[in-house]
Point group: C2
Chain length 202, copies 2
DNA sequence: GTCTATATTGTGATAGAC
DNA sequence: GTCTATCACAATATAGAC
């Protein structure tokens, strides 16, 4: 009860989020989460039966932050160029806020791909419709027509990859200088949109 | 000794490769590797002192398959277009053979970023030189000049991301149909090269 | 609800027989 | 070199006091 100030459930979830998203399922222990939450291991089991259930709550939440935005922009009634620019800008901005999420999702999805089925079916997104929509717009927009799936993956690749590969890029290309990498990401919003729009121009 | 038929060391390494690359460091146990190798746990410790050393052998090998190819093509004396086409084609072809490597490297590098420093310094690749080379070629090649780092990351993103995100893409976009995904990858070699070259054309 | 204590299993690693 | 047996410890999870 209490005045909804800091229910243990919320505290646990916040701690679990931090620990799981950084270390992954196998790299995280209930003890780590308990420490982060400032309480006892047993309490985690009291509120969330076991590690799996606690993890699932975090994973679904993280997945939900990534998938639906894409769909929303694609099916809006803006112009094609505005859709591309809008998506790239919003997506990269979001990822700057939660940069660990892409790699987290990719890794955990690889560990347990069956989970996708549940999530996809519950998301209500029909990839065929999205592809059809893109194809339609390419015809009308005076744009070089390419496979809509390739375009879709290109869009996602250019937005997401730098975050998933951050340690490599930051270490390898920017010599470990985080500020250069951040500046790179800010500039990237415009750069990626331009890149895509140029690539599909006739 | 023996006639180099199947030295235990090689058998262990092959087993460790399979297990580590799929499950990651924390997701793998010495028992799993021993089972895969068809021998006893203790033997793994006999040949490779501990789990860390065994893992390091696998990680360095995997990393070595990804990084140097890029450099080799970039510094060759082919034309700019040929470099792009050559790199994309060879890189995607390689990744089709070893599709789990990108995610493996990304995840493990996140877990222990310090490891990069050692590897980068020993690879002899100077990112500044590579960027300078790209910049020079853009001037000569009659190409729209963009930040060479952005171009480099775009190149890598478009090649690597589909492999790292395979379960998501295959499940989410291709409805779990692996054959459609494979066809998609084959087509992608040409598609990505065209996409990039169009994007940087004046 | 929240803690301590504990049961149980799995892990990396080593000792020692052969 | 290769095995069995075992140690020391960390993990998930539960029982039970308060």
């Amino acid at each position: 009860m209490s005045t909804t100030g800091k229910e243990p459930e919320a505290v646990i979830l916040e701690a679990a989020r931090k620990v799981f998203i950084i270390n992954g399922y196998e790299g995280s222990s209930m003890q780590m989460i308990a420490d982060e939450a400032g309480m006892n291991k047993a309490l985690l089991h009291y509120y969330f039966r076991n590690k799996d259930r606690l993890f699932e709550a975090i994973f679904i939440e993280a997945f939900g932050k990534m998938a639906p935005r894409l769909h929303q922009i694609i099916v809006s009634d803006r112009s094609f160029e505005e859709k591309i620019r809008g998506f790239v800008d919003e997506y990269i901005s979001t990822l700057i806020e939660i940069p660990e999420i892409p790699l987290f999702i990719m890794h955990e999805l690889r560990r347990n791909p069956e989970r996708i089925i549940k999530l996809v079916s519950s998301s209500g997104i029909d990839p065929r419709k999205v592809a059809g929509l893109i194809k339609e717009e390419m015809k009308q927009g005076g744009i070089r027509e390419i496979d809509p799936y390739q375009l879709l993956i290109n869009l996602l690749s250019l937005c997401i990859f730098p975050f998933a590969a951050r340690p490599i890029i930051e270490g390898f290309i920017f010599e470990g200088d985080a500020r250069r990498f951040d500046a790179f990401l800010q500039q990237r919003k415009k750069e990626v949109a331009d890149f895509i729009l140029n690539a599909i121009k006739k």
